[in-house]
């Protein structure tokens, strides 16, 4: 709307002589070096901020002057800074809307009723839109706080602050510093243990009560009034809240920041005390409780309440710190203005009142906090959904509607219907549509590379394994480990001291049987038959022994380099038949054994265009690989412990299997071949593998990832 100097509606107000209602209190504040007047409505506990020129007009309206007189005076005094008639009317309208204006004429009762109905509806909608934080006011703690202010008041003074610093500092240094390992060991398991969760559920509200009293006392200690305390259902968890809005009237920003931080400070003090107790008592319930208190009051507070991107204490402290009251809403409004003014080209648009310094904060804050809030919301919902599927889905729909569909729908309605876009409607449509098309194109047309990353180990083909043909002691080493050999060249000679005599024995026995046969041939046909059988048996026995003897010479299976894990152990070592002694790594084949999780296996199988491999030892060097073989079934087996979490890899092991390492979730094995000219490699070495699946638009990628997440989480 244009802000003309003269307003055609001026006649409606010119002869009124309104004034502020008496319950409104005024405070002078400085924000970013500028003077502002903050009007505090003690009845509705709301604040209104006016710049000095607007205040000039309000101040002149004392119930005896008419609006016309006040405006003329203001124009006379302020010259061009005086508000225009339009602005003055809007200002009075706002004051009336806040029920702060009183004049000799009865206001339009219809409008009052309409506004009341709208407010009621608004409250209802707010709860509906945000079912995760429904407020239920319970008590008015003001009288209590006022009586006790002498007792706790000092805490919020310099002495109290110093004491707090000492307490928290001591806890940090003495307990947390010294017991760091003990405190952090296996945290996730300890926190999520069912018994502990129950304990936390009880402790959490108690800690938060202390938190809220921190705020309340801080406000009261500075003379502010606290009239509302109650329970809020944050994600169905009852959490106390307190209305500390009186603090926004405090003139010093540090006072406001202290109020904002008082809750966290109270919690940190509590956590510190708990830390000392934890360090001194024996393990048991008391200690567990202290641990939980430290966790909730120490860690979660700082992470959640202290975060300026969420609308908790940290946000208010942050806004006070950078002296931009109502940062979130104004940042969004400013962003909306920028879009309308520059993207839609609405020239007549009045920029929201903000200094340059403020504007610099607005854009990044608006975007970052929006994204972060969505992230947190959906993370919480996902967490709930894994426990209670239906509730989670309902919540997700709700959150989707209230935090994405509603704001974007409103923005769209603005484009369709918005009054200030009337002259730029076509451009607004074009820009919105264009942005949408670009977004869709970006999502569904422009391909982005897709890949799967996994790990593997360097492997050798089965035929290159050097195995003992028979059992025995290593006698001689014909080929030194680490040297190259041709195929079928003896590598080792084993020795079995029993075999040679056995052979000799059997040979002799054969001779004996032979002689026996010849002697009996003419007399007893039955005996002859027996001896013949015996000879056959002994011959077989001999053949076996000879075979074992032959097995004592270990030959190289292929041409390549003879590799033994521990060459020094080799001499005189006893090896069993079939035992793996070492490898002869072939020159032409380099294998990588890769495991792929079942989520990704489909993609790897169906659409792998290129495989790139980096060796753990030589990360900068990238190698091309090809799939040689794949095991069609999933198994828990791992080719090497190096791939498991225990071995520094990424695959979780099943803790129930103690005998051998088994992956928690089934994996698929692939064998990749590396190029020949790869250079020196160590078997069992970790290899980072990237399967390139070509390019695909991000939209489809997100769709697949979301679908996978959904399927896995909810096993539907």
């Amino acid at each position: 709307m244009s802000s003309d100097l003269y307003s055609p509606s001026w006649y409606r107000v010119a002869n009124l002589s309104p004034r502020l209602k008496s319950h409104a209190e005024v405070h002078r504040h400085h924000y970013r070096g500028q003077l502002w007047y903050v009007l505090q409505d003690r009845a509705s506990r709301r604040m209104y901020r006016f710049n000095p020129s607007a205040w000039q007009v309000i101040g002149l309206l004392d119930g005896t002057r008419t609006v016309q007189q006040a405006w003329d005076l203001a124009c006379h005094r302020l010259g061009d800074d005086a508000p225009t008639q339009d602005e003055t009317i809007r200002l009075l309208g706002q004051l009336h809307g806040a029920d702060l204006l009183q004049s000799e004429i009865a206001p339009d009762a219809d409008e009052l009723l309409r506004r009341y109905a709208k407010q009621e509806k608004g409250k209802w909608w707010r709860n509906l839109r945000n079912p995760m934080s429904v407020k239920l006011p319970l008590i008015d703690p003001d009288a209590f706080l006022k009586r006790w202010v002498e007792v706790y008041g000092w805490i919020f003074g310099p002495v109290g602050l110093a004491a707090w610093v000492v307490l928290v500092g001591a806890a940090l240094v003495l307990v947390v510093g010294q017991h760091w390992a003990e405190l952090t060991e296996n945290v996730a398991d300890r926190i999520l243990a069912p018994g502990n969760l129950a304990g936390m559920l009880i402790i959490f509200p108690l800690v938060k009560i202390i938190h809220e009293f921190g705020h309340a006392c801080a406000v009261r200690a500075r003379g502010g009034e606290v009239h509302e305390m109650g329970v809020m259902f944050l994600v169905f968890l009852p959490v106390p809240y307190v209305d500390a809005s009186a603090s926004s009237a405090f003139p010093s920003k540090w006072q406001r920041i202290i109020v904002g931080g008082a809750g966290m400070m109270a919690e940190l003090a509590l956590a510190s005390i708990a830390a000392f107790v934890w360090a001194t008592v024996e393990p048991g319930i008391a200690r567990a409780v202290c641990f939980n208190v430290m966790l909730i009051a120490g860690v979660s507070t700082v992470l959640f309440n202290g975060n300026p991107l969420l609308r908790y204490d940290g946000y208010y402290m942050f806004a006070d710190l950078i002296e931009i009251p109502n940062l979130g809403a104004r940042a969004n409004r400013y962003l909306g203005y920028l879009v309308q003014r520059y993207a839609f080209g609405v020239r007549e648009m009045q920029p929201p009142e903000a200094s340059i310094g403020e504007k610099r904060w607005f854009v990044p804050y608006s975007i970052v906090s929006f994204v972060y809030r969505q992230f947190v919301t959906f993370a919480i919902i996902l967490f709930i959904a894994t426990q209670y599927f239906l509730v989670g889905v309902l919540l997700a729909i709700w959150a989707g509607v209230s935090s994405i569909a509603v704001p974007f729908g409103k923005a769209l309605m603005q484009v369709i219907n918005g009054r200030n876009l009337r002259r730029q409607r076509h451009r607004a449509w074009a820009v919105t549509g264009g942005a949408f098309v670009v977004l869709l194109a970006g999502l569904f047309l422009i391909p982005f590379p897709v890949w799967t990353r996994t790990e593997g180990v360097l492997w050798v083909p089965e035929y290159s394994v050097v195995r003992a043909g028979a059992e025995g002691f290593v006698a001689t080493i014909d080929t030194a480990p680490g040297t190259s050999v041709r195929a079928h060249v003896p590598l080792l000679h084993l020795e079995d001291p029993l075999l040679a005599p056995q052979e000799r024995l059997l040979v002799a026995r054969l001779d004996e049987l032979d002689a026996k046969l010849r002697a009996m041939q003419v007399e007893d046909r039955v005996q002859v038959q027996i001896v013949r059988e015996e000879i056959a048996y002994t011959e077989k026995e001999l053949a076996r022994v000879r075979e074992r003897l032959a097995g004592l010479v270990v030959l190289s299976p292929v041409e390549g380099r003879f590799v033994v894990a521990n060459p020094a152990d080799l001499p005189s070592r006893f090896v069993r038949k079939g035992e793996q002694i070492g490898y002869v790594t072939p020159r032409d084949t380099r294998l990588v054994r890769v495991v792929v999780g079942q989520d990704d296996v489909d993609l790897v199988r169906q659409s792998t265009e290129r495989i790139r491999v980096r060796l753990a030892e030589r990360i900068p060097e990238e190698l091309e690989a090809v799939i040689l073989r794949e095991v069609p079934a999933a198994s828990g087996e791992l080719p090497s412990l190096a791939l498991s979490e225990r071995g520094g890899g990424t695959i979780a092991l099943d803790p129930r299997q103690t005998e051998r390492p088994v992956a928690l979730k089934p994996v698929f094995h692939f064998e990749l071949g590396l190029p020949v000219a790869t250079g020196e490699m160590h078997l069992g070495e970790r290899v980072h593998v990237r399967f390139d699946h070509g390019a695909e638009p991000v939209g489809f990628q997100i769709w697949r990832a979301g679908r996978r997440l959904f399927l896995r989480r909810f096993t539907v």
Partner: protein
């Protein structure tokens, strides 16, 4: 059927705020109203009832009719507008009209009367006797005890209709009042106290505003009763009795064309210092150059001072004090001065007569002596034209037609051209349009649009056409869009030696006489489009023989309705008649609404096929923009109402 209205103190419709649903639905369902109800079956039923009653009624003399009317009153009050009673009432009115003024309602007029009585809009071809049709509804409602306002667009029509139809009403025992500008304020209450009051839209709205001022915005029955008893805060001295039933003649022009114009009740104030400021503003504005310093935007409706212009202004004004020291004030005043210089032109938007700047209605070409533009602008135009400056007028109350007429408990109306705005009438006023069939088939011949490259060519062609038709002895009516255009044409006709009568920006009676005489054979009349609306152009037999009235449109209007109204001047009631349309690429319509498109379409004269489409496009666009603006005014009213709630109820 409808119930009878009209009890209690100062009844009027309480404005109901649209809720979310209505607001949302309103825009997308505009097309619903476009489906104009024909309702022929209802008409048949009614006509059957009328004819049934007529068998006895038609035999009565005036005294008998009066007695029948009197007998009908209590029954109407008791039973409401049932089909049978309405039929009887219509039969009585028809017979009375026949005996008193010698006009008997045709069946189509009965249908029209029924549409009016039920609070709808009757779309009737021009010349079908709307004045007579209104008597049916007005008399029937008045018999039931409802005060009726028959609202016309000018004083002449109000007076004429009140006088002509007054005979019918008085024969029925109904009193008739007439409120025009001439009627003294003291006399007005008496006129409104009549059963049926003929008035103009402007007068009734201003009278209402005055009443609201007197009531301090609260016409409350209880307060009235209390003040009657106690004598405190007397409520007498009111002009109107309330807003019961309004029958609007030319409803489209009142509710749509003039809807946005706020009627402002104002008092003059004195401020000597202002004149100097206005002079300075104008002299500063004259030093700025269009292009680098300021830009004319939005179909030539607003001006924007560029950054360079603002800087230059700062330099020029640096020696001035007071208001000129602050940039905002300075720029605002100079912007207004630029508006006065660039967007308002003598003889188009205003006339200067007797050292006074008088606003000319762009639609009617009529002077509106009481109106003035917003604060400052009017005075700057006065300074520009060297007239003595009038005092700044201080607004006391304002209301727009669209808000005012929505306060009537029942509104109905008549027009020749409603189909374009049926959607809007439905969504804004909840008025349904019903098309009333013509008595005889229309045999009007409308020629194709003739497109000329330049304005000069167009005028030449128009003169040629006039010469051609004039030679045949046909009466010719030429419609122009603005006063200046009519004068241009008049000069050309003088040059061509064609005798003609020029009609523009003059008032009522003369206007109507000129128009009604426009049917004489060989008569050439040049008039602004809307001049003489509501007056029949009667054709003598010689004219009819020559082919009836020939209408030439010299420009397409922003609203297609206005064009149709002009065409409706010929070929009335089955008479022969024809129209032709001349337009050029230099017309205001194209320059304002299709500049870009016309550039694309090329300016080849003659049989360019893109031509008619281009003009239709421009017209559509113009109508859409105007509709949007009307809607905005409504929304703005609501918004302001809320914001200004602390200042009490709006007027």
């Amino acid at each position: 059927m409808s119930t009878i209205l009209g009890y209690g103190f100062y009844p009027e419709r309480v404005e109901k705020r649209e809720n979310w649903l209505e607001r949302t639905v309103r825009k997308p369902v505009r097309w619903i109203g476009r489906d104009i109800g024909h309702g022929s079956r209802r008409f048949e039923t009614l006509i059957r009832h009328v004819n049934a009653a007529a068998t006895t009624v038609d035999t009565l003399d005036l005294a008998g009719l009066r007695a029948a009317a009197d007998a009908l009153r209590p029954r109407l009050k008791r039973e409401g507008f049932t089909d049978a009673l309405v039929g009887e009432a219509f039969a009585i009115v028809r017979a009375t009209a026949h005996l008193t003024v010698g006009m008997r309602h045709y069946d189509v007029q009965l249908a029209g009367g029924y549409v009016l009585l039920t609070g709808r809009v009757a779309e009737m071809e021009t010349g079908e006797g709307k004045t007579l049709t209104a008597t049916l509804a007005a008399a029937t409602a008045a018999l039931s005890g409802e005060p009726v306002h028959v609202v016309t667009v000018n004083d002449y029509l109000a007076e004429r209709d009140a006088e002509e139809m007054g005979k019918v009403y008085s024969a029925l025992g109904l009193t008739v009042g007439c409120v025009t500008q001439k009627v003294e304020p003291n006399d007005r209450a008496a006129q409104y106290a009549c059963d049926i009051t003929y008035c103009t839209n402007k007068d009734v709205t201003f009278d209402y505003l005055r009443d609201r001022m007197r009531l301090k915005g609260r016409p409350r029955a209880l307060r009235h009763a209390v003040s009657k008893v106690t004598g405190v805060g007397a409520t007498d001295g009111l002009t109107l009795r309330g807003l019961h039933f309004a029958i609007l003649d030319e409803i489209d022009s009142v509710l749509v064309d003039e809807a946005r114009t706020p009627l402002i009740l104002s008092a003059e104030t004195d401020d000597a210092g202002l004149e100097r400021i206005y002079r300075e503003a104008l002299s500063l504005a004259r030093e700025l150059v269009e292009g680098p310093d300021y830009v004319i935007e939005h179909q030539r409706t607003s001006i924007r001072i560029t950054t360079d212009g603002k800087r230059r202004l700062g330099e020029i004004a640096s020696h001035l004090r007071g208001v000129w020291s602050g940039p905002n004030r300075r720029e605002e005043l100079v912007r207004q001065a630029l508006t006065a210089l660039n967007l308002f032109h003598r003889d188009q938007q205003y006339l200067v007569a007797e050292d006074k700047v008088q606003i000319v209605d762009e639609f009617t070409g009529r002077v509106m002596p009481d109106r003035s533009w917003e604060a400052g602008l009017h005075q700057m135009i006065e300074v520009k034209e060297g007239c003595p400056i009038t005092g700044q007028r201080e607004t006391l109350a304002r209301i727009s037609y669209q808000r005012f007429f929505r306060r009537y408990l029942r509104v109905s109306g008549m027009t020749g051209t409603a189909k374009e705005i049926a959607g809007e009438l439905w969504s804004v006023y909840h008025l349904k349009v019903m098309r009333v069939p013509t008595r005889k088939p229309v045999i009007r011949k409308i020629g194709p649009i003739q497109i000329h490259a330049t304005e000069a060519e167009k005028w030449q062609a128009v003169v040629e056409s006039i010469r051609r038709e004039h030679a045949r002895g046909r009466p010719i009516l030429v419609g122009t869009r603005s006063v200046i255009a009519s004068e241009t044409l008049a000069a050309l006709l003088v040059e061509a030696g064609l005798e003609h009568r020029l009609l523009n920006a003059r008032q009522d009676k003369v206007e109507a006489e000129i128009v009604s005489a426009a049917g004489q054979p060989g008569r050439i009349t040049v008039a602004t489009n809307m001049a003489g609306r509501g007056t029949d152009i009667k054709l003598p037999p010689e004219s009819l023989a020559a082919g009836g009235l020939h209408v030439i449109a010299t420009e397409l209007h922003e609203s297609g309705r206005v064009d149709r109204q002009l065409f409706g001047r010929c070929a009335r009631q089955g008479d022969p008649g024809s129209c032709e349309i001349h337009v050029s690429y230099e017309d205001d319509l194209i320059v304002r609404y299709a500049k870009l498109a016309s550039g694309v379409a090329g300016k080849a004269p003659g049989k360019d096929l893109t031509g008619p489409a281009l003009f239709r496009f421009a017209q559509n666009r113009a109508e859409r923009i105007h509709g949007m603006m009307r809607n905005e005014v409504l929304e703005m009213d609501d918004y302001l109402g809320d914001m200004l709630a602390f200042a009490g109820r709006p007027e």
